[in-house]
């Protein structure tokens, strides 16, 4: 079996930043491998180590600058990577779920995986929808918010647990091929070893365009038009304890005494 893992380089914003129009200038931004994707990747690599999967391929939509992040995924055990980028994507400030679905489904068509693992959501745009949308598009089965996957996959059926709200999990059997959106905590993502990092440099990282994939630029025209971006109004009514740590701790200690927490 082959596993395809969607890997996204997400943007994070520091404590201090500004907004210009509908953008945050690059000096306030950092990038990292999407937290949820790292759990998805780890799960795929563990499946390969358990001989359930023969090959783990990552797929990323992103410019050349995100190759470092993809190399991290390769260093953590993925066999090879695919990166999709195109001029038509350069001016798209926010890629809709449907656009990602169209692009990724073209990759699925050429790669033919049995299992697709993606993060529950991306830490930046937080759509939480691409995996399920993709599954539907390509006619795979799916499961969202999966926090356990039985590595003994028998008769083409995967036994998973889906994390619901309030400390309840649902046990579900899903026919393969399938897309699973992976929730954090399903495993313990490994760090890339020095050896892994060295090996990653030799691994194949193919870059393809939309044209290569047969996806037209119409498919990536935003359906959601980003018209405004702002810092949510802080409604903080908190009493702020000022001063050095000793002073603030003293004020907090007084408060706790007043509340009867300590005598």
């Amino acid at each position: 079996m082959k596993a395809l893992v969607t890997v996204k380089e997400v943007v994070t914003v520091g404590d201090e930043f500004e907004i210009e129009g509908t953008e945050i200038p690059p000096q306030y931004l950092e990038t990292e491998l999407n937290e949820w994707d790292s759990f998805a990747l780890e799960e795929a690599v563990q499946l390969r180590e358990a001989d359930v999967i023969e090959e783990v391929v990552t797929v990323t939509i992103g410019p050349e600058s995100c190759e470092n992040t993809i190399r991290q995924a390769l260093a953590k055990g993925a066999d090879r990577g695919i990166r999709i980028w195109d001029e038509a994507l350069e001016d798209v400030s926010q890629l809709d779920v449907n656009a990602k679905t169209d692009i990724l489904s073209a990759v699925v068509e050429s790669e033919n995986p049995d299992l697709i693992l993606s993060g529950v959501q991306a830490g930046d745009d937080g759509f939480g929808a691409t995996g399920v949308s993709l599954a539907r598009e390509i006619g795979f089965q799916w499961g969202a918010v999966v926090n356990h996957l039985n590595h003994e996959i028998a008769d083409g059926v995967a036994a998973v647990r889906r994390e619901l709200e309030g400390g309840i999990e649902e046990e579900t059997e899903i026919e393969l091929p399938a897309v699973l959106t992976i929730q954090s905590g399903i495993n313990e993502p490994r760090y890339a070893s020095m050896r892994g990092i060295r090996q990653a440099r030799q691994k194949e990282l193919a870059s393809v365009t939309l044209t290569d994939l047969g996806v037209t630029s119409d498919a990536v025209t935003p359906e959601l038009r980003l018209t405004d971006m702002y810092e949510p109004e802080t409604e903080s009514a908190a009493t702020v304890f000022e001063g050095d740590a000793e002073e603030t701790a003293g004020r907090l200690a007084d408060l706790l005494e007043n509340k009867g927490v300590v005598q």
Partner: protein, 317 residues
């Protein structure tokens, strides 16, 4: 005139709160567009649910009596069928674990734009403006879309509808394509049970990713001991295996309502806040003065936890 189809959420025989919030959100939309609000109930004790959801603003309740529990294939088929039958423009679904398991597939099947985890909705006849957050709540955005769409709404953003209404109830003539059902629920399990029950504690010392490393938890333990308090945490601490699941506060953990909640190195992501906003007094210790936790904190210390926590412990020794 733009009609809205809202889809109720339920589990193990009970409607979830978000079902009532959906009614509020969707009723506001139909008010803005002078359309009708159709509410869809799929599975479970549908008649009992229909009675409970017969609320002001709902015009028609459609019931699909198919199974007791959630199955995404049933949901996708039922939602798309009813959407077409009533010629609605918008589908409004919850951004719950189940909503996330069918709403994107509905949008894909109907070839509609999708906006998830929405916290604000504003419609004119032609355009829908949705408010969403990005970067873990640091930024809010407005997105506009024309024509029809599927949106999922964040829980606890709209008040729960409560006024009884006068909706008509219709049973949907639903035929399930069994062949397309490729997954089945085999059971449920509880994960936060056993050991300490943080929901019973009067004082919680709660730690988040700001603690950085497992061994640093010692300073939290010392503080909790000196306060005779119970330790709880945000999700990443449990994900890392540093504390057991029964200590996790939040949407997928426990709901807690202590007298005092000390949020230490916790940003206040929506899924965390869902579990602790009912605390009597909330104190946040965080270096980020704009962390979302500050919105609900009663008291705040904008400083490094590694300085403040030991200093606080010292006060009680």
């Amino acid at each position: 005139m733009t009609d809205v189809l809202a889809v109720a959420d339920h589990r193990q025989g009970s409607l979830r709160d978000v079902s009532f919030e959906l009614v509020t959100a969707a009723a506001k939309l139909t008010e803005q567009t002078s359309g009708d609000l159709h509410l869809l109930i799929i599975g479970g004790p549908v008649e009992e649910f229909a009675e409970k959801l017969n609320l002001q603003g709902v015009d028609v309740i459609h019931t699909v009596d198919e199974g007791m529990e959630f199955n995404h294939d049933v949901y996708v088929q039922a939602v798309t069928q009813v959407y077409k039958a009533v010629a609605a423009e918008y589908v409004v679904a919850p951004n719950s674990a189940n909503g996330l398991d069918y709403a994107p597939a509905v949008a894909n099947t109907l070839d509609l734009p999708l906006a998830t985890d929405v916290i604000g909705l504003d419609a004119t006849d032609a355009t829908l403006a949705v408010t969403r957050e990005m970067y873990g709540g640091k930024v809010a955005t407005t997105n506009e879309l024309d024509g029809s769409a599927v949106v999922t709404i964040r829980g606890a953003e709209w008040p729960m509808a409560a006024e009884t209404g006068t909706a008509s109830v219709k049973t949907v003539d639903f035929s399930l394509d069994e062949g397309s059902v490729g997954s089945r629920v085999t059971g449920f399990r509880e994960t936060t049970g056993g050991g300490v029950d943080i929901s019973e504690a009067d004082v919680l010392v709660s730690i988040g990713r700001g603690i950085d490393e497992e061994e640093n938890l010692n300073i939290i333990r010392e503080l909790a001991e000196s306060l005779d308090a119970t330790i709880s945490c945000s999700r990443p601490i449990v994900d890392s295996g540093w504390l057991p699941k029964n200590r996790q506060v939040g949407q997928s953990g426990k709901v807690v309502t202590p007298d005092v909640y000390l949020a230490i190195g916790i940003s206040g992501a929506v899924q965390h806040v869902a579990g602790m906003k009912g605390s009597d007094t909330i104190v946040a210790i965080n270096t980020d003065t704009d962390a979302p936790i500050m919105d609900i904190a009663d008291y705040a210390i904008h400083d490094d936890l590694f300085d403040v926590v030991p200093a606080l412990t010292e006060q009680f020794q």
